[in-house]
């Protein structure tokens, strides 16, 4: 079922099988480059096309036409010569383009001429009081279960937050016969005015009509509370209620399931561990890799495509995948590259796919109180560190996220900062009167996902490797 890579060297290794990775791998393989696609999930699709080859949701209209686009990408990939391995967790990538990947409990090592990282996005942390309670999940989690197992919320369900995914998920849950009791919209009123100057591009983008019809569909069936300025979960070992403030009025409602969402941010762990330079994006409020117009990063040979390059959505991810593959071809097989659309054409396609994005980013920019928690609210879910703990550490001298590890172990649990990193950066920046860029981020290192010591110990060793660590 799980097989190791067939070769030790590839022209191109693509990591992640979402829209960018599927496109990059297919394009690269079709042009004759030896191509390996490594993906952590059970099947292709990434998050947006999750379970595209296996979903039990057979009514196509329920998931929507934008979802089924993924089936064509998979078809193109499968028609190509790209080698594809799923359930393959890349745990190391370095400046020499050496890749370590865990497959079925054993590690394999491959070397690439070019690496295209298509590791996508994850949902922005949403640190409200008691967000660690069983019964609180991300909206994306519910959507994953809906797509891959046709599971829908059954008990009293509240969806809270903002952004396009929230409305898409709500529509999908309703179409599949699931239950939603209330939607709590946390979009800041001021964002509507801030977004106005960017409205023209949005109004003339495909997002507009789709978004409007989805919101209408949902609002016809679910009570939507807008202008929510405070939000808290509570319960004793299990979610029991959600309380919120809207228009200055507090309300508490009993609930079994709370789905949180306030947008997505690049999944930076592998890129940062490989030494790729990132910078703080003040609009998207996250770290984004520093890339040139072809997706090339600060590390020679590593390109980044898709939402991992900065959030752009699925259509942009497909084009970015194509651009990164073309750049690989220009470097490795210039004659084959000539057969592809020119970079100028691809960049025009990308500009079209990204149309309306600034409006969305501005409108759905999460409010400070939902990004920077206070008091006993947990910041680091793994090590169970609160906002107050972080501020106390700052008060006695912790200067940034890496010093904070020594004080509180934040970011040192199994998730390696994925669920707390942005919060810690912004919280410390606020406490110290600095910018997030000045405060910085956790220094990430391999293994970027936990592997067992037994797996490491089983890695083939040379005499020199042994001599380097054995005494006497």
């Amino acid at each position: 079922m799980t097989v190791a890579p067939k070769r030790e060297d590839y022209d191109v290794v693509v990591i992640g099988a979402g829209p960018a990775g599927l496109t990059a791998a297919a394009t690269s393989a079709e042009s004759g480059l030896s191509t390996l696609l490594l993906d952590e999930n059970i099947g292709p699709g990434g998050q947006v096309f999750r379970a595209i080859s296996s979903t039990p949701v057979t009514e196509h209209s329920q998931l929507g036409a934008d979802y089924w686009v993924g089936a064509d990408l998979v078809k193109t990939l499968r028609a190509s010569t790209a080698e594809v391995i799923h359930r393959a967790t890349v745990w190391s990538l370095d400046r020499n383009l050496d890749i370590a990947v865990s497959i079925g409990g054993a590690s394999a090592f491959v070397k690439a001429q070019r690496v295209i990282l298509a590791t996508g996005a994850l949902e922005r942390p949403f640190p409200i009081p008691d967000w660690t309670l069983p019964g609180v999940m991300t909206a994306g989690a519910a959507q994953t279960m809906l797509k891959s197992s046709a599971l829908v919320p059954d008990g009293r369900t509240v969806i809270a937050g903002q952004g396009p995914l929230l409305w898409l998920l709500a529509a999908q849950i309703l179409r599949l016969g699931g239950r939603i009791d209330r939607i709590l919209d946390t979009t800041e009123r001021g964002n509507y005015f801030a977004a106005l100057p960017h409205a023209f591009a949005f109004l003339t983008s495909p997002y507009f009509a789709k978004g409007l019809s989805m919101m209408r569909e949902v609002k016809a069936k679910v009570q939507v509370v807008s202008g929510v300025t405070e939000l808290a979960a509570s319960g004793d070992g299990q979610l029991a209620s959600v309380s919120y403030v809207a228009g200055g009025k507090r309300e508490t409602i009993p609930v079994d399931l709370l789905l949180l969402h306030q947008g997505v941010v690049p999944n930076v762990n592998l890129a940062m561990a490989a030494g790729v330079d990132h910078r703080w994006d003040d609009l998207q409020l996250c770290w984004s890799p520093v890339l040139d117009a072809s997706g090339n990063s600060s590390v020679a040979g590593i390109a980044i495509a898709g939402d991992g390059a900065g959030i752009g959505g699925a259509n942009a991810a497909v084009v970015r995948g194509r651009i990164a593959a073309r750049a690989a071809m220009e470097a490795l097989a210039p004659a084959a590259a000539a057969k592809l659309p020119t970079m100028a054409t691809l960049r025009a396609d990308l500009a079209k796919a990204e149309r309306g994005r600034v409006f969305i980013d501005t409108l759905f920019r999460p409010a400070p109180q939902f990004r920077i928690p206070v008091g006993d609210t947990i910041v680091c879910r793994c090590e169970e560190v609160t906002a107050k703990d972080v501020l106390d550490a700052v008060a006695i001298g912790a200067t940034g996220p890496n010093q904070l590890k020594a004080y509180r172990r934040t970011g040192m649990g199994p998730c390696q900062g994925r669920l707390c990193g942005l919060t810690v950066t912004e919280l410390m920046a606020q406490a110290r009167g600095k910018t997030p860029q000045e405060i910085g981020y956790y220094r990430l290192r391999a293994p970027v996902k936990p592997i067992t010591l037994a797996e490491l110990a089983a890695v083939p060793k040379t005499e020199a490797d042994i001599k380097a660590v054995v005494r006497g």
């Binding site: 059970i42 039990p56 994850l122 660690t132 991300t138 829908v152 199994p414 998730c415």
Partner: protein
């Protein structure tokens, strides 16, 4: 918390959760099968013993950690169910040798 849609026609797969047979479907991840089982499948954390359930379902939060066929701290949301699979809900720290 979750129910299965009627259109789901995937073949059943039987797994065992702390020794008790649980009906899953082919293609479910361990975490999805646990959440669909209506059993109490809360793990407790290694740090404080607080109860948790899966949070992200996409491999980044590690709140779905579970012992699968004797191997501890697996991410249940990334592992597909298989016939006869033995699942143990983790209480506290994982044990040495697991």
């Amino acid at each position: 918390m979750f129910k299965r849609s009627e259109q789901d026609k995937r073949p059943p797969v039987q797994i065992f959760v702390d020794g008790v047979a649980v009906a899953a479907r082919q293609g479910d991840t361990v975490s999805a099968a646990l959440l669909a089982s209506s059993r109490d499948v809360r793990r407790s954390t290694a740090v404080s013993g607080a109860p948790r359930l899966p949070y992200c379902m996409m491999g980044v939060c590690f709140d779905c950690l579970v012992t699968i066929d004797g191997v501890g701290n697996r991410q249940g949301c990334l592992v597909p169910v298989a016939e006869g699979m033995q699942i143990e809900i983790q209480k506290g720290k994982r044990e040495i040798g697991k």
